[in-house]
Symmetry: D2
Amino acid sequence: MKRKLKMGMVGGGRDAFIGAVHRMAAWLDGKIELVAGALSSSASKSKQSGEDLGLDPSRVYGDYQTMVAAEAKLPPGERIDFVTIVTPNHAHFPVAKAFLEAGFNVVCDKPMTYNLDEARELRDLVKKSGKVFALTHNYTGYPMVKEAREMIRRGDLGKLLKVVAEYPQGWLIKPVDNWRTDPARAGAACCVGDIGTHAENLGRYITGLEIDELCADFTTFVSGRHLEDDAGMLLRYKGGARGILYASQISVGDENNINIRVYGTDASLEWHQEHPNELVVKYQEAPRKIFRRGNAYLSDVAKRFTRLPGGHPEAFIEAFANIYVEAARAIEAEVAGQPIPKDCDFPTVDDGVAGMAFIATAVESARKGSVWTKMKS
Amino acid sequence: MKRKLKMGMVGGGRDAFIGAVHRMAAWLDGKIELVAGALSSSASKSKQSGEDLGLDPSRVYGDYQTMVAAEAKLPPGERIDFVTIVTPNHAHFPVAKAFLEAGFNVVCDKPMTYNLDEARELRDLVKKSGKVFALTHNYTGYPMVKEAREMIRRGDLGKLLKVVAEYPQGWLIKPVDNWRTDPARAGAACCVGDIGTHAENLGRYITGLEIDELCADFTTFVSGRHLEDDAGMLLRYKGGARGILYASQISVGDENNINIRVYGTDASLEWHQEHPNELVVKYQEAPRKIFRRGNAYLSDVAKRFTRLPGGHPEAFIEAFANIYVEAARAIEAEVAGQPIPKDCDFPTVDDGVAGMAFIATAVESARKGSVWTKMKS
Amino acid sequence: MKRKLKMGMVGGGRDAFIGAVHRMAAWLDGKIELVAGALSSSASKSKQSGEDLGLDPSRVYGDYQTMVAAEAKLPPGERIDFVTIVTPNHAHFPVAKAFLEAGFNVVCDKPMTYNLDEARELRDLVKKSGKVFALTHNYTGYPMVKEAREMIRRGDLGKLLKVVAEYPQGWLIKPVDNWRTDPARAGAACCVGDIGTHAENLGRYITGLEIDELCADFTTFVSGRHLEDDAGMLLRYKGGARGILYASQISVGDENNINIRVYGTDASLEWHQEHPNELVVKYQEAPRKIFRRGNAYLSDVAKRFTRLPGGHPEAFIEAFANIYVEAARAIEAEVAGQPIPKDCDFPTVDDGVAGMAFIATAVESARKGSVWTKMKS
Amino acid sequence: MKRKLKMGMVGGGRDAFIGAVHRMAAWLDGKIELVAGALSSSASKSKQSGEDLGLDPSRVYGDYQTMVAAEAKLPPGERIDFVTIVTPNHAHFPVAKAFLEAGFNVVCDKPMTYNLDEARELRDLVKKSGKVFALTHNYTGYPMVKEAREMIRRGDLGKLLKVVAEYPQGWLIKPVDNWRTDPARAGAACCVGDIGTHAENLGRYITGLEIDELCADFTTFVSGRHLEDDAGMLLRYKGGARGILYASQISVGDENNINIRVYGTDASLEWHQEHPNELVVKYQEAPRKIFRRGNAYLSDVAKRFTRLPGGHPEAFIEAFANIYVEAARAIEAEVAGQPIPKDCDFPTVDDGVAGMAFIATAVESARKGSVWTKMKS
């Protein structure tokens, strides 16, 4: 299929960080074009943002309802092939629902919904619709994260014993006015919803382990804030592995320092976003190995998501774009009326449900005073 | 200006590494579209490559001469706004000359030409044409490289004493069939032309120092090869600073590990492509500082070339794209008949002449047996 | 005082790792000599070990009871000035008690005793005796650990919010026959007693914070083992700070990788034994700083414990020796009948009680199913 | 042999950095005791320094001539077994000569002598004497340096192609009054003599390669200084390998940052004193390996010089002590009238001659204007 996929966007107007990231990720490989949008909950800001982006003014909408109606009326090939949703959390569900029901494929930012009930409902909607739904848990797009998963799948680490996943950042050390700290827009959690879910998703993606129960302690360090800005958890996985997961938004000087360590009976691995092109593998009785992106010795899966030779580093945007590359493969198939390739590798609505279940479980454990709580689903 | 700039490409067909990089760099920010190309010296490969890229077949040309003639006949706004040249070195000059003379702006890969004479002639052509000419010494596009330059401009390091610039890589440890090792296509140098010029350019960009004379030792380690695959040099800069520069293509296990250290009377700095988001500054009587991309404390120039918050790493493609961002600013002005903004920050034809002079000087010093040789210009 | 202090040793015979460390630490600065010992619970092994060490055979004893009686009969200046106890945990208390009651100063390895009751009793014995008692929580001897403490004391980090302390190692991934895994000799905990206490002590030393309550999960991964080989804990400190502490002996490929991160409202710091000469300090709005041992800009306390210029690394033995340096200062004073200098900086019997209380509290929390448990004392 | 070896010291009094290092290195393993000294060229300072060290006043001498005469009169077993020379360079030769001629073994700091002629003469003296002479090129004492040598001996790197050795430090960025900058005491070179020889020795020790010719550029950056404070060199080894070596004392913020990279046809390695417990080995088609001190997978030679388990870092003093350990083994044999064990691993008088030849060759090349100059011997 040679024409570019047509993307619409809900949210992501001027000053919105994540919308710009989605656009760069979509554009990087030259296979997707942005053609329409309801770029802000403010109609005038949407219009201005559309101008910034050089969109045809007739396809810059004042709200998503107008957008979905108008795009649905356009002929196939002209109307959008999929919509990307980059609004605050509380709007994910209604927007996704509207577009799915109108027959559009969806790419959605995370966490997937406002709460677990919405997530379950969205899962049903997606399955019923037969449309593609991709969730941008972008860290799983890093080639060395994929290599890590492949190693574990192959059994290189032996039986998995322990997972330590962290996501510390510091920007909420000061009181800020941001929707992420507003329960009405963010949901039941701030830190755990915004970044804890990334740590959870990264751990699940790499290890394939499922959390059986967890014991969480939430803290709100900045006074006046209504949601937690720091959370620590002990995890017990099905099958006996143990875990520690923490997310923090008051860790002064840490900059989106998501990282993970996985320990097995035969070997251990660690990956840090600060050095995303490296995967460290440790052995009890052999030298450590540093696997580096862009090398011939890596697995096919890591190579498939690599654009540059070794030493020329790839980073966040390329990883994000890898989610789009795979979602685009699925969307192209869907648009063409073909079956979706089975090897498409992007986070799905099921990952979204798992993420919302994780949030709900952690919130419950913390509210009860760090009681071991069975993972919801 | 809202419409996207129209890019043509000479070279960069199937399997060409650097052409794909240029395209990603051009596409990343959504302001440039590829519309035409003579993508290979083989007409059939050019055609296939154009199909791969979804180009209108009528604008995929069998050779650059046909392309320049055909594009020149298209009306402004439809024809390409600039051409990107990503051929082997020996073709840079004739292609650039043809497009400049036909009134097109040019983006060109490095080293700029086949030899110094061509470089000087190209400089004259560019100045006479009034067109934009940008050379993709991409490492200068890294935000922390720009921060380094800004620190030195501000005087943070005091008087500069010493520069150590390295570019080791290992891929030529085996005999390979590649134009870079062919004197007929690469020019008088292999290692120094392909990567030594990057180290030279990086040092000049960051420090502003000019090499006064140099003393070079070239080695060809792989038998049967006609050009050097390793070179070491001692440098003396105007004003008294000293330098060491080396480039190597037989450094097994090094992966494009370009790096630079600059020492001054008050402080020193170092930057490594392996960790491109960090700039280390060292003092004799104070703690080391690690400046990290994406932070509020950086200079305006570093911020201007930053797309993501701290901790979310940016890398090679984003740096490469920063060259395109600035070239595009200049090209947009040129196309609009406006003066080119003075703060546009991309390598120019003068940088290209300096690079070719560096190669010619190093070759001469090495041929004479590592004799101190005054820098040509 | 010019003569060397005379050291006796209980434990530490052939093949005992920690005894050799204590001797090197004692000898390093040329102020302590080993003159006597009951070097093994086997009289013949004690004798052989004494020969290895060039000890006067008349002062190599078959058991500690004989040693304490014989040494006590020697005249001052000839008899030992202090005893170092490097036996398995269960013997610490009776040996320390015997020597204290006979009027000897004591240096003791950690954890201090077999259980908390013994620890409390030992505390009373030490206070009553007026003798010096030093506990070798050696990580607090690192100059950059002392710098960290000084920074926090000065208020550089603002109000402390969070502490993350880890001690992963991997050697118990296989079943081994070692007293540390034997409840009869190690006490109620294996991993938490052997290395968790180091993490606890390091955190307490650097931050001055006291744990209010903790919530622990213990795991025994290797079947047939009677004590935990992995433990994770959530901590709540008095004053509102939170913490995560984990210790693990099944973390394949980790090599005594003790490390700590402390987060405050103004800055954060981290220190890793893998890079002991560095202390990283992070800010939300300023470049990171790397404080490095051996520099003029450090605090007096770090300088006092530094032997070498910057760049010439110091490490484990030097840090261990710093405990001996300070204990020796105190012991010299005690022997001379002078008051013990108030600025002596070594872990005391109170630290030992705190460590045993930590173990007992963690064991109780884990046994109850990770229930928040108030810190014992 | 159970009694401790008796060490005398010439130089190393109060405030002398390197004397203190030698003493710690000698004491660390409990097999050497300091019993005599002429600790300063000032008799009164020698006396005070002897008091500081608790030496018997009758064996603290006002000058080395008195010392050698007096010690020679003492009976074997009471007199010193060897002397350690830690004076400024110009005094090494006469002191070594005096002690050798009086029948004493010698440990000497580097560079070995004031000039190459003295070095050659000393070599003859040593050979004639039959005594042990050890030179403290201490960096060769690091276990991972020994591992590097072993790897190369085994052929792990294939044929060696290139060596890059650096020793930057910054303390001479300011004018200082130190004997190292005084031609009358330091010799013909400052930077190259004091630290360049370490880089040369380290390269020779690890690789076994011999320099065939070199091309050097010396610079004196600090005005009023009579010797170079920075030097860069291109090297050509016998057999075709190439090298770059630089030493600098004006590299602001660098702290004795000696490091080396060795490139072969099959693999490359690098070692940095900043992380002395690691040895990085790089391959073109396999993951990098990090060999870490203290592990079972290392060679016997690395293990032989290791005191602590992995993860508990060893550093400068332990490496220095490893020179003493081996010198002591040789001296014990010499004292006992036995042949010196062939596997003793310490720098010899031949290494000293090589080092002085390196200095003389570099000085000559630099004086002639960076002319390729054949290595003297």
